[in-house]
Symmetry: C2
Subunit: 123 residues, 2 copies
Amino acid sequence: MNHTSQEELLNGLSRVSAEMPADETLYELADLFRVFGDTTRIKILCALSVSDLCVADIAALLSMNQSAISHQLRVLKQARLVRVARRGRSSIYGLDDDHVRTIFEQGFRHVRHIAPGEEKTHA
Amino acid sequence: MNHTSQEELLNGLSRVSAEMPADETLYELADLFRVFGDTTRIKILCALSVSDLCVADIAALLSMNQSAISHQLRVLKQARLVRVARRGRSSIYGLDDDHVRTIFEQGFRHVRHIAPGEEKTHA
DNA sequence: TGAATATATGAGCAGATGTTCATATATTCA
DNA sequence: TGAATATATGAACATCTGCTCATATATTCA
């Protein structure tokens, strides 16, 4: 490895380094995706994309402990992925905004090997 | 809770249940997002979105152990998020397809509170 | 108010995950 | 071929995560 190529390397890395978003942004990004990275939470989000639901309904739907669902809903709420509205003694949860659907959609496309721009196929 | 509302509830849950994708799809989806859910991997993907890089360069860029980077690249490769091309004794890694950029983009939008359709603002 | 119902929360535990260290496996070049 | 270089991989360890159990906190209604 001669001097010139090492200089080029350093310049190249500096350029990459300069184009990287701030570390804090990258942490936030990883935090967001980490929330999507669990089957239980994915199922909850998927269910809520069909209909708003109370905690007990979600638990019944996933055949899971009420406590487990409640804990996960808290994680989802902290990530601003779901919102909650109290109605009587129930808490009705729903998706917080459309980012969730869009992020989902891209995930599906990757899993199903569909190019980002390409037409959506069903099932 | 009377009989009618309980019946409605069951019907509602059945409907939600029917609209949910297959469990296996949801597992794959969670697996995909789990890969995005780590700061080191996010940084690697971010760097590769700027330029293809060899292992040593990525390690230098992130001030991290070569072994740690190599382990993470394997995870990224298994998820089909990066591809590798051997050039001499180096392995040059790059993003595998455009899903990565698109998923990133949506993540950024969420973190920065930009609506999915809305115009992109810089930095 | 008090019983019943719905949800939230804290502690504890088992399993998963990311890093490091040591070392194995290419690949180049003298 | 053998030394040097670049990457890959296995084992070990500390940390993180998600679930369960027990229990606390609303909220409704008789």
